[in-house]
Symmetry: C2
């Protein structure tokens, strides 16, 4: 019998009515002949309330205790959902992360899954139960409760699906799938039927918020198809899966725009081995996450180095750069906060020429000046003036026909 | 180093300020040279809210899931209290019932403690931590979360004190000790410095709500002195302990009144062996809890049987009696709802005559008619007309000088 894992996020279990709706989804899947495991998050704003309660007592709460506190949110949801299923006449049982031995490392608030004890779940599935597991949480080897950090419930669900060799991991959410780009910014965006893990990873790292990168990595590593779909509508969404040959025919699957960025440029840095390492290890040590890096040689002695970061990290980055500026003999530093980054992603780029060319052409026709360009194997990103950001995104989406399903593009 | 267990109930941890106050109590005890274990209940109305959430989804929720849900309340309190202590600069760590291996039977919502794994606690105590344990909860042998039912956190605390061989178990509450009677009903009631386990057990069964009987039984069985004291005031309360010789000099330690009672009389029951068993096993099978039973022989063939029950059980009891009425050949049934029961309790009764006499005399002088009388080794209870209840209590308290400390009585 096939096993299906269904994950419901906080907005999908926010109140009794939504918990009932989620319960009915699981029951339908069981009626259709599957064994069903549900992974649930904390209800709506519960986690925020608990964080507020904690901060009132301790502005910098110990992480172990924070995990102990926050894990109660999911525990409440899963027991309530089991009650809902029982009221509907179905056998259901809820488990905490500790109870199913979701063992993680001890990195509280951002723990990583190490192993899952699937036996207790499969036994209950075989007895006809729907099994409901608290997402986002696990325990370390000493039995301390841990949590998995942002997107943790998605990761729990995909990891469970992997451990149980589930047929699919369904992620129920308040959007009905993955779109070619954010429909709020490009109203003609269309939902993709499928997307590869690699593309989804690039999109996730570019801030397309539907799925967290770690869950996608898990799916890729353990071959778990992930179906992102609406908790409100009875329709298929987007399946994240391994690359299939037909995907290579699609030049660009999706596009993104990131606005909350800043760029720092270091002009006239000594062109010596080790200087780049010095700069970026010092930034990492200052907890600054660097996105894209561009280095260009201006002479045999001097190079220019620039990089983009999240706007939130700007103060930390400026401070870090000042600390090492004399060591790297940097002539001057400039900062740009008025930038946006427009990116296109697609595995088809690997085997097709002309994608970058087409993107630059589209931007040129829209009279958007390109500040800088970075690329990966399946991604091209252009930094542009923030005032030109939306226009640039629209131009790129139009050029790659992201307003049409992939099989209707020219 | 002596170990002190401190238990804080829901009203004593209802908000951040109260959690801080409780934390400071524990820190003071540690500063005074003790190793300190805190047992905490769910914050204020948290449990009520969770019950409401559950009922909304299932009017008759499975007990296992109810335990899963309700146990989150205490888990939140203990983590928050650990955060508060950390903010004050002290080492603290919180544990769930499962984490310290508080193993119970599998009777969800009213489980009984079977064993406690003290090692994890003593290790942390030896490392200088204040250990904060979630009260009211445990786990069964399969790792399912259980709860201990009413008064469960008191029981957790006393059981932990027993397992750790603590010097004392302090129960912090919103009253400042055990009074000779309820001060709301007899304003001159005085706080007792100490009381025996047996007396406290009788008082608890008579509805004096400060301590639950099971916790007291645990204390008696494992020789744990229980100190009931105020969470708001810096003063000693009442110590519940083994009987000491001086207690025997006190005829009556306390008095109670129970108003929420009903009495059922069965007139002209066949006076045959097994009839009483038939009646009361059928009532027990109908989940009716019977308080006092009086049986009197009216002839060789017939007896009258009457018993008192909680008013809430009246409908169930009447139904149960109708079901077996023909089997026991009961001639008629009467019900009294207009009664109260006034009781006096004291270990001194064991060795002194005249206590009952003094009580009846006091009631006679107050012109209170006695409907029926029941006694135990250390208790005398009189059923009276409910309109005479308060007057009867006052008369009895005055007669036994319950407005004075024990050593000032004549």
């Amino acid at each position: 019998m096939a096993i299906v894992v269904q994950k419901f996020g906080g907005t999908s279990v926010a109140d009794a009515e939504k918990i009932r709706r989620a319960a009915m989804r699981a029951i339908s899947a069981q009626k259709a002949g599957n064994q069903v495991v549900v992974v649930a998050s904390a209800r709506g704003k519960q986690t925020d309330q608990l964080v507020t309660d904690a901060i009132e007592l301790n502005p910098d709460p110990p992480r172990r205790e924070m995990d102990m506190l926050l894990s109660t949110g999911e525990q409440q949801t899963v027991s309530l959902m089991a009650m809902a299923m029982d009221a509907m006449g179905y056998k259901a049982i809820s488990f905490t992360g500790s109870q199913i031995r979701m063992v993680t490392d001890a990195a509280h608030t951002k723990a990583r899954i190490q192993s899952i004890g699937a036996e207790r779940i499969t036994k209950k599935l075989d007895d006809g139960f729907i099994v409901i597991v608290a997402g986002f949480q696990g325990m370390d080897e000493d039995g301390n409760i841990t949590t998995l950090g942002r997107g943790g419930s998605d990761t729990s669900a995909v990891a469970l699906a992997a451990a149980l060799e589930a047929e699919v991991c369904e992620i129920y959410t308040d959007v009905d799938g993955i779109y070619t780009t954010d429909p709020r910014k490009y109203p003609d965006a269309v939902r993709m039927d499928q997307i590869s893990y690699d593309e989804m990873l690039e999109l996730a790292s570019l801030g397309a918020g539907v799925m967290h990168g770690r869950a996608v990595e898990f799916g890729k590593k353990y071959n778990v198809p992930i179906h992102v779909r609406s908790s409100m509508k009875e329709m298929s969404g987007t399946i994240i899966t391994h690359e299939v040959p037909q995907m290579e025919g699609i030049l660009v699957s999706g596009a993104t725009i990131q606005k909350n960025l800043a760029k720092i440029g270091l002009v006239g840095v000594d062109n010596r081995p080790g200087n780049a390492a010095r700069i970026f290890s010092h930034l990492a040590g200052s907890q600054v996450i660097v996105n894209d890096i561009i280095q260009t040689e201006v002479s045999e002695q001097k190079a220019n180095v620039s990089f983009t970061i999240g706007r939130d990290d700007l103060d930390g980055a400026k401070k870090a750069i000042e600390e090492i500026r004399s060591q790297i003999h940097c002539e001057s530093v400039f900062v740009r906060e008025d930038i946006a980054e427009v990116s296109v992603v697609g595995v088809g780029m690997r085997s097709h020429y002309g994608v970058a060319d087409k993107m630059f052409q589209a931007l040129a026709e829209a009279k958007v000046n390109i500040d800088s360009i970075t690329t990966s194997e399946i991604r091209i990103s252009c930094v542009v003036d923030i005032d030109h950001g939306e226009k640039a995104l629209t131009a790129v989406c139009d050029a790659f026909e992201l307003n049409k399903p992939a099989d209707e593009r020219s």
